[in-house]
C-alpha cells in the first residue's frame, strides 16, 4: 500500500490503468519500475517539496508583514488628513534615525539620549521588581504551604490587588519623600501580587504523590524544599514572574510621567511638552519592543525549567 501511494505520480504517467492488476503483482512491479529512471523521480520530488516549503515560508512571513503594512497605511492616512502636524511614518523614521544615531548623549538631567532613558526605566523596574520577587516569592511559598497564612492573607490580597498602581504613588511619595523611590515602590506593589498568587497556587498544586515520597523518605524540610517543592513550583513561579515583569513595564511609563526625572515615561511626557510627536511615537515603539524582549526572554526561561508532568 505504501509503495502504491508513494509511486502514484509515476504510476499516473504510465500508460494503461493499473487498477485491475492483483495486489501481489502490483507491488513488485511498482518497485521495479523506478530503477531505470531514478533521477527524474528525485527531481520531481524536489520540485514538489520546494513550493510547499515556500508556501509555509510565506505563511509565516506574509501575515505579519501585512499587519505592519496595514498599521503604516492607517498611520499614513491619519498623517495626511491631520491638520495638527501628526508626523507621517517616513518623517518618524527619519527622526528615529537621528534619535538612535546618538542614544547615549547627556545634556543635563532633562535632555538625555533615548538609551539612557530606557536604561533608567529598566533600572527602576529591576529594583522594584527585584524587591517584589524577594518578598513575594517567599511569601507565596509560605501562603501556599500553611493554610492559616492562606486564610489570613487571601482577603488582604483580594482587597489590594485590584487597586490601580498609580493610586500607590502618592503613598510612596509621602513615605519615601522622593520621586525615584516612589516609582520603585509603585513597581514593587503592583508586581508583587502575580508572584505571590502564582507561587502560592503552585505550592498548593504540588502533586500529593511527591509529598508522599517526601513523607516516606522522611526528608528534612530543607530537602523537601530544594528537591521537591521548589522544582515543582518553579513553572508556576516563572509564570508569576512573567506577569509581574509585564505589569511592571506597563506601570513604569505611567509612574515616570508623574514623577519626572530620567526615564522612558518621562521622555514621552517631555516630548509632549515639546510637541515633538514623532519622538512620542518612537518612544511607543521602544516601549513595545523592550516589553516584547522581556516577555520573550522570560518565556524562554520558563520553558527551560518546565518538566514533563508525570502521566501515569
Amino acid at each position: 500500500m505504501v509503495s502504491a501511494v508513494f509511486h502514484s505520480p509515476m504510476d499516473a504517467s504510465l500508460p494503461g490503468p493499473r487498477a485491475g492488476e492483483g495486489r501481489g503483482e502490483g507491488v513488485p512491479r511498482a518497485e521495479a519500475a523506478p530503477h531505470p529512471t531514478p533521477l527524474p523521480r528525485v527531481e520531481r520530488e524536489k520540485k514538489q517539496r520546494s513550493p510547499i516549503d515556500l508556501r509555509a515560508f510565506w505563511m509565516r512571513v506574509l501575515p505579519p508583514l501585512a499587519g505592519f503594512g496595514l498599521l503604516v497605511l492607517i498611520w499614513e492616512l491619519i498623517a495626511m488628513k491631520s491638520t495638527t502636524g501628526f508626523p507621517s511614518p517616513l518623517v518618524t523614521w527619519q527622526q528615529a534615525l537621528t534619535v538612535f544615531s546618538d542614544p547615549f548623549y547627556s545634556k543635563g538631567p532633562n535632555d538625555q539620549g533615548v538609551g539612557w532613558n530606557v536604561l533608567s526605566s529598566l533600572q527602576r523596574v529591576a529594583m522594584g521588581f527585584g524587591l517584589a520577587a524577594a518578598v513575594g516569592i517567599p511569601a507565596g511559598f509560605a501562603i501556599g504551604r500553611f493554610e492559616f497564612l492562606a486564610r489570613m492573607f487571601n482577603p488582604l490580597i483580594g482587597l489590594l490587588r485590584p487597586v490601580s498602581p498609580l493610586a500607590w504613588l502618592p503613598i510612596g511619595l509621602l513615605v519615601f519623600k522622593g520621586a525615584n523611590p516612589a516609582a520603585i515602590w509603585t513597581i514593587f506593589i503592583c508586581s508583587i501580587w502575580p508572584m505571590v498568587i502564582n507561587t502560592a497556587v503552585g505550592v498548593q498544586r504540588v502533586p500529593s504523590d511527591y509529598m508522599n515520597v517526601a513523607k516516606v523518605l522522611n526528608l528534612s524540610e530543607w530537602k523537601i524544599f530544594t528537591k521537591i517543592l521548589f522544582p515543582a513550583v518553579l513553572p508556576y513561579m516563572l509564570t508569576g514572574v512573567r506577569l509581574a515583569v509585564g505589569t511592571a513595564w506597563l506601570v513604569i511609563v505611567a509612574a515616570e510621567m508623574l514623577t519626572g526625572g530620567v526615564g522612558i515615561g518621562f521622555w514621552v511626557w517631555d516630548e509632549w511638552n515639546n510637541l515633538n510627536v514623532a519622538n512620542i511615537i518612537i518612544a511607543i515603539f521602544v516601549i513595545g519592543i523592550v516589553g516584547l524582549v522581556l516577555e520573550f526572554a522570560l518565556i524562554k526561561l520558563a520553558t527551560a525549567f518546565t518538566f514533563e508532568e508525570v502521566k501515569s
Binding site: D209, N212, V216, F307, E308
Partner: protein, 269 residues
C-alpha cells in the same frame, strides 16, 4: 514472643474517613500478622480498602481504632524502614533516575557513609533492576516499566525492613508486568525482603505470595480469608501454569472474589 513470625502486627484496626456526607467506614476489625521475610499480597475488589490498609502500614495515615506494630514498635508515621513503591511510581521528574534513587540512599545512609559509598549503593540498586544504562535519564525519557523499576530500585536501595507495594504493576501492559514480576521474584529471593503488596491481579498474587490476604467488599471491609500458597521457590511462571497447587490457589482466590464477593455494584448501591 517470637519476633520473626510477627514482624508486622495489625490489631483490631478500623479506619474511618470524614467525607462531605459524614464519616465513611473503610476498614473494620482487621487483624493480621506478617512474618519476617514473608511475601503477602492484599487482594480485593476496587474500593475495598487494600490501599488504605497499605497506607496504614506505611504510616501515611493513622487508624481511627486499633494499633499497628512493626518489629514490636508502634507505627506512628512514615519512615524509610518501610519503603513504599507507589502505583504511579512517583519519581521526581526533574531528577535523573540516579538522583531519584540517590535521594533515598542519602537520606538513610548519609550519616554513616561517605559519598563514594552512597554512589556505589545507588549504582547497585539501579543495577539490581537492570537500569544502569538509563541512570542519567530523566523519568520523562524512559518507559512506564522502566519508571516502575526505578521506583522499586529507590525502595530497595534504602534496605528497608519492609517493602510496601501499592499495585506496582497496575499501570503496565501485560508483557512488561510479567517481566517485572519475574524480576521482583528474583530480587526478593536475593534480598529476603518482607513484602506487603496490594494487587487486583489473581495470577500476580498467586505467583508472588507466600500468603494471599483476601479482603471483603467495602464499606467496612475486613479480611475475608487468608490463603497460604505452598509452592517452593524459586518459582517459574511457565512451570506453575500446570502445577496443581497453583491451579488450586488460583481457583480459591477467583472463587472468593467472583462468587462470594461478587456484585460490588449491588452492594455499593
Amino acid at each position: 514472643m517470637n519476633d520473626d513470625s510477627k514482624y508486622i502486627e495489625i490489631h483490631g484496626v478500623e479506619q474511618r474517613f470524614k467525607t462531605t456526607k459524614g464519616s465513611f467506614l473503610a476498614l473494620q476489625g482487621v487483624n493480621l500478622n506478617v512474618a519476617k521475610g514473608e511475601f503477602v499480597t492484599l487482594i480485593g475488589h476496587s474500593g475495598c480498602g487494600k490501599s488504605t490498609l497499605l497506607n496504614l502500614i506505611a504510616g501515611l495515615t493513622t487508624p481511627t481504632e486499633g494499633v499497628l506494630l512493626c518489629a514490636n514498635r508502634e507505627i506512628k508515621g512514615p519512615g524509610p524502614e518501610r519503603a513504599v513503591v507507589f502505583q504511579n511510581h512517583s519519581l521526581l521528574p526533574w531528577l535523573t533516575c540516579f538522583e531519584n534513587v540517590y535521594l533515598a540512599v542519602e537520606r538513610v545512609f548519609a550519616a554513616t557513609e561517605n559519598k563514594t559509598q552512597l554512589r556505589a549503593r545507588t549504582d547497585a540498586a539501579l543495577a539490581l533492576v537492570g537500569l544502569t544504562p538509563a541512570a542519567q535519564k530523566r523519568p520523562g525519557e524512559i518507559s512506564g516499566g522502566m519508571k516502575q523499576r526505578v521506583g522499586i530500585a529507590r525502595a530497595l536501595s534504602m534496605e528497608p525492613k519492609v517493602l510496601l507495594m501499592d499495585e506496582p504493576f497496575g499501570a503496565l501492559d501485560a508483557l512488561t508486568r510479567a517481566k517485572l514480576q519475574d524480576e521482583l521474584l528474583a530480587i526478593v529471593q536475593k534480598t529476603q525482603s518482607t513484602v506487603v503488596m496490594v494487587t487486583h491481579d489473581v495470577d500476580e498474587a498467586v505467583l508472588l505470595s507466600d500468603r494471599i490476604v483476601m479482603l471483603t467488599n467495602g464499606p467496612a471491609a475486613t479480611i475475608g480469608e487468608v490463603l497460604k500458597v505452598d509452592i517452593a521457590r524459586p518459582r517459574n511462571r511457565v512451570e506453575l501454569a500446570e502445577d496443581p497447587v497453583y491451579v488450586h490457589a488460583r481457583k480459591a482466590v477467583i472463587d472468593f472474589l467472583y462468587t462470594r464477593q461478587a456484585h460490588v455494584e449491588k452492594v455499593a448501591a
